[in-house]
């Protein structure tokens, strides 16, 4: 090699170097991620259609119709009705969104728990909501099983998802950085950070299994797998409550997840989940 042909990279300031690209997400993970996006969206929205058929939640084996701990309903007010949400005996005015809302371009409100923009299908249609829900529940469960098997056997779980002891000890710093919307750069950006690890682990091994098991506990046929197993969740109506809360937990995760994607470089993040390639944000000079 001619000694004068020095590689360009070595002569320029690090800040001007083209960003280092790493192959961050492998094809199976990308594929299963997007299948999951479709499934979770449809399951959440068709689930709200099913909830709307009896918009109340109970704790226990059966329904105490007079005393649900959550109910969303329309109540009569002078000149019409208004949507309210009752949680543990307290009433909240949720008119226009929960309890009573306009469907599409309608000029008058309809009494319905969740609004039509949050449900599949839009009009209140229980049987159709169930068809969507159970078809995509199968796809979601099979995709989830495939993902867990892949994560364990490919090393994805150990390599990418489990935080190291050192990372766990530095969790305070990670929390502080998150609160300041400071995102890792350089070598640190090549790995999931510890809060990310914990969030993914709680979702993958906590919320997702819970939403599935609580869903199964509502099936009168699966009730008979092992006599009385539904009692472990507090009974069928408790299982319905847990299914709903787990779904809300997943929704919260998705909102935070999408927020983090947007603030940490939306196109780079999207590209890495589509093509696999992620541009590592450069360390700032002098840091």
């Amino acid at each position: 090699m001619n000694p004068s042909a020095v590689p360009v990279d070595a002569t320029v300031a690090p800040a001007l170097a083209p960003p280092e690209r790493i192959y961050r997400h492998r094809l199976p993970v990308r594929l299963m991620h997007w299948i999951n996006v479709v499934c979770l969206t449809i399951l959440l929205m068709s689930g709200l259609t099913i909830f709307n058929a009896h918009p109340a939640l109970y704790w226990g084996r059966d329904s105490t119709f007079s005393a649900p701990w959550v109910s969303i309903m329309a109540v009569d007010v002078p000149g019409g009705f208004a949507g309210v949400t009752r949680i543990a005996g307290r009433t909240f005015d949720t008119d226009g969104v929960l309890g009573a809302s306009k469907v599409g371009d309608a000029t008058t409100k309809t009494a319905r728990a969740f609004p039509s923009w949050a449900t599949i299908p839009g009009p209140q249609w229980l049987s159709m909501g169930r068809h969507w829900h159970f078809f995509f529940a199968w796809l979601f469960v099979l995709n989830g099983i495939a993902y867990v098997l892949y994560a364990v056997f490919s090393g994805h779980l150990k390599r990418d998802l489990l935080p190291t002891g050192a990372e766990l000890r530095n969790i305070g710093r990670s929390i502080k950085e998150h609160l300041m919307f400071k995102h890792p750069t350089g070598a640190a950006a090549k790995r999931y950070n510890v809060l990310q690890n914990l969030a993914y682990l709680v979702v993958i091994f906590g919320l997702l299994p819970l939403v599935i098991v609580a869903g199964m506990a509502m099936s009168p046929m699966l009730d008979s797998v092992v006599t009385g197993w539904v009692e472990l969740l507090g009974g069928r109506q408790s299982a319905r409550t847990l299914h709903f809360l787990a779904a809300m937990g997943l929704l919260l995760f998705v909102l935070v997840h999408v927020f983090e994607v947007i603030v940490s470089g939306v196109w780079n993040q999207l590209r890495s989940m589509v093509t696999g390639w992620y541009a590592v944000p450069a360390d700032k000079v002098g840091e």
Partner: protein
């Protein structure tokens, strides 16, 4: 098809800070784009919900569920039974609470003394049983949870004769595959125009012969109330409430339920619900 849009308040939030920098504009664009994609996707879902071929694909999931459930938990697995203390103070009634049909009301006025359960179809010896005859047969009492497709549950104590016991007396033929329950109550009002809208349901022989499948004439120690299906209703304990046909008049064994009414095996099935109601 109704045209629906994402609520504009959601898509256009964030005007409060006055300054309209490039970043804000980009954020607006992004929000509008996301809102637009959402609207189109939702409209697409509604369109697909009205596409018969697509809905058939969605509905095919019930065959997978049923096939898996035949193995796990299995054909004979038992639904949970409860203690007397678990029985609800008031067992919820749903669907028809009082049939408007004149023939039913006449039977009810007579204390159902003129009522008979006809059992026929693909059987060797069709028969009819009075309420007294059914009560004289061996009985089973069970405290079970009734799960409505809407999402609520109610626990009640049922007493009745096992359907398998009644079927054994009429001797089903080898080609009988389903048991059809015909009821007294017209769902769309008494059929003045001759159109039959009386409730009906069907189950396969696994469910028909299941230990907990009983023709119940008592609820919580009392004769079955009219609102819960007097004089007789069937309990299909491992499926949702709409399978538990009330106001029973006739039971038929058939090879296929396709020739009946809407062809889907039940009143609610003809109105879009799954025939397999194990989930």
């Amino acid at each position: 098809m109704t045209k629906r849009t994402i609520r504009s308040g959601h898509a256009n939030a964030g005007h409060t800070n006055g300054g309209q920098g490039a970043g804000t504009k980009r954020r607006h664009l992004l929000r509008a784009a996301l809102g637009g994609v959402g609207t189109v996707a939702l409209a697409g879902c509604d369109r697909l919900s009205n596409n018969e071929a697509f809905v058939d694909v969605l509905k095919s999931a019930q065959h997978l569920s049923r096939a898996v459930h035949k193995i796990v938990p299995g054909r004979k697995a038992m639904a949970q039974e409860f203690a007397p203390a678990d029985v609800a103070a008031h067992f919820r009634s749903n669907g028809t609470l009082m049939p408007a049909d004149a023939d039913y009301q006449a039977l009810q006025k007579g204390g159902f003394s003129e009522w008979k359960l006809q059992v026929g179809g693909l059987v060797e010896t069709p028969a009819a049983f009075t309420l007294a005859e059914l009560r004289a047969m061996p009985s089973r009492t069970q405290i079970t949870r009734h799960d409505c497709v809407e999402g609520w549950s109610s626990i009640g104590q049922w007493k009745g004769v096992q359907l398998s016991h009644v079927l054994a007396q009429v001797k089903p033929l080898a080609n009988a595959k389903y048991v059809v329950f015909r009821c007294a109550d017209s769902m769309d009002g008494p059929s003045l125009d001759g159109r039959d809208s009386r409730y009906y349901e069907s189950v396969d022989l696994d469910d028909a012969n299941h230990v907990q499948t009983v023709l119940a004439y008592e609820l919580n120690g009392q004769p079955l109330p009219v609102s819960n299906g007097a004089p007789l209703r069937v309990r299909i304990e491992r499926q949702l409430g709409y399978k538990h046909a009330k106001y029973l008049m006739r039971i038929d064994l058939v090879e296929s339920f396709a020739p009946l009414r809407g062809g889907n095996g039940g009143y609610w099935e003809d109105n879009g619900y799954e025939w397999y109601a194990g989930i």
